[in-house]
């Protein structure tokens, strides 16, 4: 009787492991962080640190394929990205001034910013002068206007009084039949 086993191919042996090995609960590998996976892909981890990552990658077919894909992409020259992709991505971050305006805090930031204290004081002084000059001019203008109004009013009153008097005299004479 031939007791010699027929040698199996390596692949069969691997498959047999699934069939013949005792059914035991397999502990789920820990989730791999993006930073850990990147470090592992670059081969920067020690054997000890790489163990859990490799166990997780071995246990997840999607992760196994992803690792190969990423290694492949990172290892060769890449085609340029569509211009529209670049334009859209650039628009996500604006210049500081734009962002400040967008956040609605331009005036308050300008007003209370420490670095621009001297500039603020200067601008505030100029603003005060402008307001004072404006007030003076408005005040002067008003006085003049009021003075003119006053003169006009007196003249009207005089005319009006005269006119009234004239009417009254006419009425008086008219009333007397003259």
């Amino acid at each position: 009787m031939n007791t010699q086993r027929t040698p199996r191919s390596d692949k069969e042996l691997w498959r047999n492991l699934a069939i013949q090995s005792p059914v035991a609960p397999v502990s789920a590998p820990a989730a791999v962080s993006e930073m850990d996976l990147a470090a592992w892909l670059e081969g920067r981890l020690t054997e000890e640190a790489a163990g859990p990552i490799e166990a997780a990658v071995a246990a997840d077919p999607a992760l196994r394929r992803a690792a190969l894909d990423l290694a492949d992409i990172l290892g060769k020259p890449l085609p340029a990205a569509p211009e529209r992709m670049v334009v859209r991505a650039r628009a996500l971050v604006g210049f500081e001034a734009e962002r400040t305006i967008a956040s609605g805090g331009l005036f308050s930031r300008w007003l209370f910013g420490r670095s621009r204290h001297a500039l603020q004081q200067g601008v505030m002084a100029v603003a005060a002068v402008v307001i004072a000059a404006g007030g003076f001019m408005v005040g002067g203008g008003l006085s003049e206007s009021l003075a003119r109004q006053g003169e006009g009013h007196s003249a009207t009153e005089t005319v009006s009084t005269t006119s009234t008097a004239s009417n009254e005299v006419s009425e008086f004479f008219a009333g007397d039949g003259i």
Partner: protein
């Protein structure tokens, strides 16, 4: 600017929100993000617009909440291109999930995504300590994924001979476990 230039980006200025640095970052990162997103979504026959949106999702995620994600990147642990490729893949998968959850006529979903895989994949149960994690990984790549030794070597940043050696040692352990002689051992 290219992917290699990504490592020259001033990360502090970038996470401060400096516009010029962001623009330079976008130019350097876009080819990589574009490539990863396209590769990740390639199996799902999505439109060009979906690819653009998924790529934009990557950039949004990077600068959201005052560049919170970018601030988690640690240059001491990995290069920016590698980390960015991992992040891009995650974003593309998230985009795909969201898109599928929203509205997806069943006819538009690739059959491969709906159905059970055609190929029979064994649920391997390996006794604890029989093989190292790396040996299991190498065997899975070579047998379950049917990948080439050079591909696996490139992934693990070792030469092909090291992969062959790892493979050989793993098989020795497996054979010992099954008390079986190897094919070339005169059995």
């Amino acid at each position: 600017m290219g992917v290699a230039e990504l490592n020259l980006i001033d990360l502090q200025a970038l996470t401060r929100g400096d516009k010029r640095t962001w623009d330079a970052f976008v130019v350097a990162a876009a080819p990589l993000i574009n490539a990863v997103v396209r590769r990740t979504l390639s199996a799902y026959r999505l439109s060009e617009e979906d690819v653009m949106d998924a790529a934009q999702d990557v950039f949004v995620r990077l600068c959201a909440q005052d560049f919170r994600l970018l601030k988690t990147y640690d240059p001491a642990r990995a290069g920016l291109p590698t980390w960015l490729s991992v992040v891009s893949r995650s974003c593309a998968i998230d985009h795909l999930r969201r898109r599928r959850q929203a509205t997806e006529p069943i006819d538009d979903v690739p059959e491969a995504f709906l159905g059970v895989e055609d190929r029979h994949v064994e649920k391997l149960r390996i006794p604890d300590g029989l093989l190292t994690a790396r040996q299991v990984l190498v065997l899975k790549y070579l047998y379950d994924e049917e990948r080439d030794v050079t591909e696996v070597a490139r992934l693990l940043s070792v030469d092909a001979q090291t992969i062959r050696s790892t493979h050989h040692k793993a098989l020795l352990r497996l054979r010992a476990h099954f008390r079986e002689e190897g094919p070339g051992d005169g059995g």
